[in-house]
């Protein structure tokens, strides 16, 4: 992989954000709205629920972490959709870039887009609701890594669909994360799910991430094996995502969609 090419491709998206104030505003707006919404719900549950008794901000922390996942996935999809909308697809695929370099550039730039939106929201939550995700301590870094890997994996799978089936796959891009949210046990413990769904849910990294988040905030203990499990599962999905992306790319070349995808 050549870094100057990865940087070049990232630069295209950085310029796009930098040139457009509405885009920056849009990136910041939704995570901040989430913080306000879940902040008030969180306050209500803190005083009204025995499960959350004396544990301020579990729900808000979950909301922020979920938003991190959501933003990283959507950022990935958005960058790919931008190429389709601007009809720049052919230019991109005739440039001497490897697929691995495209994946690397999108992965790196997605974190940039995600943080633009999330950092203000995280900072707003501290004075407004007295909730800081930094209370999770060092494990927060690893939980974010697991979330990010899984987020970009979802992005990768959706972009693979866009590559193979064209812009008609766009709706799936927006809906992709909502498919998994109920099984992710973001706001509730896994025991709430029926037994059969619990088995499926354990195959997702989300359950391990959010269970561990609650464990740290409520029980004040850290279960390292859960964190490792969440990262490993995310990596497995990521590898699968890369394979699917390559298969879609070769499928698109066979089908001829790379040359007219924006039309």
């Amino acid at each position: 992989m050549r870094w100057h090419k990865i940087y070049g491709l990232s630069l295209r998206h950085i310029y796009l954000i930098r040139n457009s104030f509405p885009r920056i505003l849009d990136l910041i707006y939704w995570p901040s709205v989430q913080v306000f919404l879940w902040g008030f719900i969180s306050e209500f549950f803190t005083v009204s629920s025995s499960y959350y008794n004396n544990t301020v901000g579990v729900i808000l922390t979950a909301a922020i972490l979920y938003d991190f996942l959501f933003r990283s996935s959507i950022s990935y999809n958005m960058m790919f959709l931008e190429e389709i909308w601007s009809r720049n697809f052919t230019n991109l695929f005739i440039a001497p870039i490897k697929i691995s370099e495209i994946i690397a550039a999108l992965t790196m730039t997605a974190i940039f887009r995600t943080l633009i939106g999330l950092v203000p929201a995280v900072l707003v939550a501290i004075p407004l609701f007295g909730v800081s995700i930094f209370k999770l301590g060092i494990p927060l870094i690893f939980l974010l890594i697991a979330l990010y890997i899984f987020g970009i994996t979802l992005g990768l799978l959706v972009t693979a669909g866009l590559l193979r089936f064209g812009p008609s796959f766009e709706n799936i891009a927006w809906a992709s994360l909502f498919f998994l949210a109920p099984l992710g046990c973001i706001y509730y413990p896994i025991e709430i799910l029926p037994n059969a769904l619990q088995i499926i849910a354990k195959g997702l990294p989300l359950v391990h991430i959010f269970e561990e988040m609650r464990n740290i905030l409520i029980n004040q203990t850290v279960n390292i094996s859960e964190i490792i499990k969440s990262i490993l599962i995310s990596i497995i999905y990521f590898i699968l995502g890369v394979v699917v992306f390559y298969v879609s790319y070769y499928g698109a070349k066979k089908k001829g969609t790379l040359i007219n995808i924006g039309e």
Binding site: G8, Y15, E83, N91, I94, A95, P96, K254, G256, G262
Partner: protein, 244 residues
């Protein structure tokens, strides 16, 4: 660099888009690819650029298969311009040239951008968003992008489509001068017969996925008993298939 197209065929489900075409484009020569809409020109160019996998046959660039592991090395010495593909509209012209310069690994990029901007008169709108430009300006920016890496092979798909005669002439003049100065190999797909006559050394006529005639403009015109390439094109396009 030269291009050899050998027994190239592309079938999309039951539709035969390109049917067993063969030709060679010698180094520093310009070949015109002509034919009515839907005759397989874009699909052929797509296969030559490695964007479409052929059903059978090969495209050899300097004797290397364009679909080989060397694809990126080959692509770094090629480029493509077409009015049907665009550059990101929200990026300025300079930013687009910078991004593509980096993707093509252009050395001394700043100077290259200055040089090509002067050559193609882009300086007045270099810092303007690409989406805000007129079609003539966009067309020149697209040409600048396609020359940013000083390619050895340039693919041009209707480079002067939708341009007014003045700008169209400027672009043709520029391509002509650039070609003679840089000894570049060009494959030009166009519906503008005067442009083809002016720029191409040889031409290939395609119809329904097949090559139906080939040669110099003069040869083809006289072979079909017409006065100009436009009439010859019409005769071939409206006749039943004749294999070259």
């Amino acid at each position: 660099m030269n291009i050899k197209v050998q027994n190239l065929t592309k079938k999309f489900n039951n539709y035969l888009a390109v049917n067993n075409i063969n030709f060679t484009l010698e180094k520093s020569k310009t070949l015109g690819l002509l034919g009515p809409n839907g005759c397989g020109k874009t699909t052929s160019i797509g296969m030559m650029l490695g964007l479409i996998t052929p059903s059978s046959g090969v495209v050899l660039i300097d004797n290397q298969n364009v679909d080989s592991t060397n694809r990126n090395d080959l692509l770094s010495r090629m480029n493509f311009a077409s009015p049907y593909i665009e550059l990101p509209k929200k990026l300025t012209v300079r930013q687009n040239l910078e991004v593509y310069g980096r993707l093509y690994g252009v050395k001394d990029l700043k100077n290259r951008i200055t040089e090509i901007s002067e050559d193609l008169n882009l300086n007045n709108f270099l810092n303007k968003n690409t989406g805000e430009l007129s079609s003539g300006q966009k067309n020149r920016v697209s040409l600048a992008k396609s020359l940013i890496n000083k390619p050895d092979i340039l693919f041009l798909d209707e480079p002067t489509a939708s341009l007014d005669p003045d700008i169209g002439d400027f672009v043709r003049e520029y391509i002509e001068t650039y070609k003679s100065k840089n000894k570049i190999t060009i494959l030009l797909a166009s519906h503008n017969m005067k442009e083809v006559e002016r720029l191409c050394d040889t031409i290939i006529m395609m119809k329904e996925g097949q090559i139906v005639d080939r040669g110099t403009c003069k040869d083809i015109i006289s072979r079909h008993g017409r006065d100009n390439l436009e009439d010859t094109f019409l005769k071939i396009a409206r006749s039943k298939n004749e294999m070259a």
